[in-house]
């Protein structure tokens, strides 16, 4: 009797607790509403910066409204902070952001349309055959230690650091055209010529790589790779850094913050001819997780934050009475998708990676279509992403300048249609259970990485949607590393939920995924890296990727990339689900904020200033 009472008591307690949780979980609707009605208000971006020559110095002149000098902007970086300040050694996003703050490349991306425009270079010309790029450098501009920036620095950076494969080799890998590296030559002190063996469209944007000061880096390069790995590490005193960018490292406090101060030698001026940047300092606080970031923003320790989930609704409500503005800058480059393992190869022991009956299903286009039509993307957007996402149907992300707009809207969920596709391929149902024409019950595994709550939630929804078709889906979240091993080495998976980030500017960067010999060609990975047994459409994709990289003009490339997205849409080896929407809050006291779907909110740190009025009110 006593036991019974205890059990009853516990049940009641649990019920109360559940009730409490359900009540506490309301703001979703609010978020949905805001996400739907609020799209990015069209902000008028200022004209792009021009080059003006004053006293023989080729300044870059910002065309943004003139602001006041002084002030600090405090932003955040999640994780354990940068691992290095050497821009050629960076392997993680935080280090790259920090290093890139200090260095400018020859070209930069224009926020308005993603066009590559001269930055450290004054101008550039591309020869009619598309193989030679001639860069004119700015005369009279200086490194932060007052030494001039010349063609020597550019040639040194490319020939001695990037092309020799010192540090992070990804830039070198990306300019390898048919196994050949480009040639970099100095014509005179302010002219550099790049020559590629073939026209290569992504090349221009790759030239946004940082340029190193030769007089500082040369001794380090001479000492070899091992020394270079530790050159400009996080323990190097910041005063040794010589930079070209708007801000220079002032202080790095491990696990706490990174402080940048303005570079008085920076070559950009405002409309009044005063030297930029406006801000005295930029501070990145190193925060361990999202929750701490939110707390710090609420305690006013941070000036800007990227908002997620239900916080958006909460902040939107408070926005009117607060000192911050929320910008919805639209879908970002992150993509969530389900990939299907179409591999028909055998492993070294002579066993198939994928069981033969499953091979038949996964290689059947109707089967893949059925999955595509059965998945309810809008439902995922509403329930998993709190409305802060857009359904996705294309291989290019929604903010890509190469997006195939015809496909972007996709189609709604339609179970009937999904069933029709299955019937076409001879699948049938008995007691609502799906069988193929060889009477095999349709059952397979769906993997994702455990611990990622978003992907786990997607997995549950995909499983439910597919079970409506009578399929049996074993949803298996596994540890991230085991998953990677499955995807890259052992290849024994059926379906997987993954996400990758890309770039809105250069579809060629997806080559490792879509090229038939790519190292991340998930759905039909070739372990030997040889282009054998290609599907017809894989052949076509390879051809398009090659061809599009040879075309230089945007319109030529757009046509090819439209076709590439169409092929992927038609074949569906990867079924795209949705792209998250980015929402950023920033304090009202900052001026010259021009949010752009391509670049975000604080990309123009050199032009952002603190408004005097708001400051004096405080």
């Amino acid at each position: 009797m006593k036991k019974f009472l205890y059990v009853l008591l516990i049940i009641i307690l649990v019920l109360f607790a559940l009730k409490f949780f359900i009540n506490a979980d309301i703001p979703e609707l609010e978020t949905l509403k805001t996400a739907k009605t609020e799209s990015l208000a069209p902000v008028k971006l200022p004209a792009s910066p021009k080059t003006v020559t004053i006293n023989g110095i080729d300044y870059l002149q910002s065309q943004a409204p003139v602001g006041g000098f002084g002030g600090v902007l405090v932003a955040s970086t999640i994780g354990e902070g940068p691992k290095t300040f050497n821009p050629f050694n960076t392997k993680d996003a935080t280090s790259a952001t920090m290093a890139d703050t200090m260095f400018d490349g020859l070209v930069a991306t224009r926020a308005k349309d993603g066009e590559a425009v001269p930055k450290l270079a004054k101008s550039f010309e591309i020869s009619p055959d598309g193989k030679t790029y001639t860069f004119k450098l700015r005369r009279g501009i200086k490194w932060s230690d007052n030494k001039p920036i010349t063609a020597e620095d550019v040639v040194f950076t490319w020939n001695k650091i990037i092309l020799t494969g010192l540090g992070n080799t990804s830039t070198r890998d990306s300019v390898l055209i048919d196994g050949q590296l480009p040639k970099v030559e100095k014509t005179d002190d302010y002219t550099v010529k790049f020559t590629t063996i073939k026209p290569f469209a992504p090349f221009l944007r790759i030239l946004s790589a940082p340029i190193a000061p030769k007089h500082i880096f040369e001794p380090a390069v001479r000492k070899g790779e091992k020394y270079f790995q530790s050159f400009w590490s996080t323990t190097t005193p910041p005063k040794n850094f010589v930079i070209s960018g708007a801000f220079k490292l002032k202080e790095y406090v491990p696990a706490q913050r990174i402080v940048f101060e303005r570079n008085p030698n920076y070559y950009e001026i405002n409309l009044n001819g005063e030297k930029l940047p406006y801000l005295d300092k930029i501070i990145y606080l190193i925060v361990g997780d999202l929750n701490n970031e939110i707390l710090k923003f609420e305690a006013k320790e941070l000036d800007t934050i990227s908002l997620r989930g239900s916080n958006v609704g909460r902040y939107k409500k408070r926005e009117a009475k607060s000192d911050f503005i929320i910008y919805n800058i639209g879908p970002d480059t992150g993509t969530m998708f389900v990939a299907i393992n179409m591999n028909k190869r055998k492993n070294e022991q002579g066993k198939y990676y994928v069981a033969t009956k499953k091979q038949a299903w996964f290689n059947d286009r109707n089967f893949r279509y059925a999955i595509d039509w059965a998945i309810d993307r809008q439902n995922m957007v509403n329930n998993i992403a709190n409305g802060l996402a857009s359904p996705l149907f294309t291989a290019e992300s929604l903010n890509s300048i190469y997006l195939n707009k015809k496909l972007a809207n996709g189609h709604p969920k339609d179970l009937k249609k999904a069933k029709e596709y299955l019937k076409k391929s001879g699948f049938y149902w008995k007691n609502k259970i799906l069988y193929d024409k060889r009477n095999n019950r349709v059952e397979f595994d769906l993997y994702t990485n455990a611990g990622n709550t978003e992907r786990e939630a997607i997995g549950v929804m995909v499983k439910q949607d597919l079970e409506d078709l009578g399929m049996r889906v074993n949803f298996k979240p596994v540890e991230f590393n085991s998953l990677v091993n499955k995807l890259v080495n052992s290849l024994d998976w059926d379906l997987v939920i993954m996400g990758l980030t890309g770039t809105p500017l250069e579809p060629h960067n997806g080559k490792n995924v879509w090229y038939s010999t790519g190292s991340l060609h998930l759905f039909n990975q070739r372990p030997d890296g040889k282009a054998t047994d290609r599907f017809d459409w894989e052949v076509k994709l390879d051809k398009i990727i090659d061809e599009a990289s040879l075309k230089i003009t945007f319109n030529d490339r757009k046509k090819l990339y439209d076709e590439y997205q169409q092929i992927i849409y038609d074949e569906k080896p990867i079924i795209y689900l949705y792209s998250p929407i980015r929402v950023i809050a920033i304090r009202k006291k900052f001026g010259n904020i021009f949010p752009s779907p391509l670049s975000g909110v604080t990309y123009n740190l050199d032009e952002i200033y603190v408004k005097q009025k708001v400051k004096s009110k405080k």
Binding site: V72, V74, G79, E80, K83, T84, N89, K91, N168, T169, S170, D173, S174, Q229, S230, S233, T234, T235, E251, V253, P254, A255, Q256, R257, V259, I283, L285, I286, V287, G288, N292, L295, K296, E298, A299, K300, E301, E479, F480, N481, S482, V484, N485, L487, V488, M498, L500, G502, N509, G510, K511, N512, V513, S519, L520, G529
Partner: protein
């Protein structure tokens, strides 16, 4: 002289212990499916050559026992190796150890200064309202999980704005004068110290109280009282001396927790100590860093116990006689 031999013996005994600890930790980490390169492998812009280069740099292409041998050889020579990011492990640890020590040493000092007297107070006023009240308070202290208490305090800091939200220094720390700096650090330390203090105080106070109560009940205390000694003398000369022995053993463990005891609280408060560093290292299977911190933990534990035992030799005559007979 005898004590010196004893210490030497103890130190020699720890060597096989450390070897076993290192073997177990190394193989558990390496045999776990965590792949330090997993993230690179899923990065579309990383080529196969780069991956190959990274594998070689981290020594992952060699068999596990060779990896262990290489690590052990370097460790014996005093070289802790480099992290997976190429930074030196010793340097990274050196950055963080002072911060952690500052916090834990402060907490241990405070808890002992407050906890021991409170324990004595509770024991001598056994079963009075004061004792009951202290019991309730310490029970609460023991019952609150540290991370939860830390989060509550963080929310308190955000709502009131009285305290900074985590960290150790403000961003303009370097422009402050000395007084400002001291105040800034104190200001940041208050909340994490409160959490750790509350929780370890509870345990310590109850331990002290139980020990003293035990002793107060023994025959020789009764005898001392019957002899007509003043209560003060009974308590502080006879009872307390005997009650303190178990506390010294406890102090040994506290010593071990100097470097690792505050990890959870450090994480919640974003305190720049060892906790965050080691957690990230474990998640990324950064073997050298994890091994260094594990070995450090083992050494600290052994050392703590040794210190406690030596102290016991001084405080407890019974141990002294046993030792000298040997």
């Amino acid at each position: 002289m005898q004590i010196l031999i004893y210490i030497l013996k103890r130190i020699l005994q720890t060597i096989p212990l450390l070897i076993v600890v290192s073997l177990i930790s190394f193989f558990i980490i390496r045999l776990s499916p965590v792949d330090p390169l997993a993230e690179l492998k899923l990065n579309p812009s990383i080529s196969k050559e780069t991956l190959q280069k990274e594998t070689e740099r981290l020594g992952l292409n060699k068999p596990i026992y060779v990896q262990y041998a290489l690590w052990a050889k370097a460790f014996v020579q005093g070289d802790l190796g480099v992290c997976s990011t190429g930074e030196s492990v010793a340097g990274k640890l050196k950055e963080r150890i002072p911060n952690t020590l500052l916090l834990t040493a402060l907490v241990i000092l405070l808890t002992w200064l407050v906890g021991v007297p409170l324990g004595i107070l509770a024991a001598i006023s056994w079963k009075t309202p004061l004792d009951r009240m202290l019991t309730v308070l310490t029970s609460i202290g023991m019952a609150i999980p540290s991370f939860f208490f830390a989060i509550l305090l963080l929310i308190f800091a955000v709502k009131t704005g009285w305290f900074p939200v985590g960290g150790l220094t403000s961003y303009n720390f370097n422009e402050m004068n000395l007084l400002g700096k001291i105040w800034d650090i104190t200001h940041h330390l208050i909340l994490p110290t409160t959490v750790l203090f509350t929780i370890s105080l509870a345990g310590l106070q109850r331990q002290m109280r139980a020990n003293l109560l035990d002793v107060l009940d023994s025959d020789y205390v009764k005898f001392a009282r019957a002899k007509g000694l003043s209560e003060f003398k009974v308590l502080y000369k006879h009872a307390l001396r005997n009650a303190i022995n178990p506390m010294i053993t406890l102090l040994g463990f506290e010593f071990a927790s100097l470097l690792s005891g505050a990890a959870l609280t450090e994480y919640v408060f974003q305190y720049p100590g060892l906790g965050r560093l080691v957690l990230e290292a474990v998640l990324k299977s950064d073997i050298n860093l994890v091994m260094a911190s594990l070995m450090m933990g083992a050494v600290m534990l052994v050392l703590g116990n040794l210190i406690a035992d030596i102290l016991l030799i001084f405080t407890d005559p019974r141990i002294r006689t046993v030792n000298s007979k040997q």
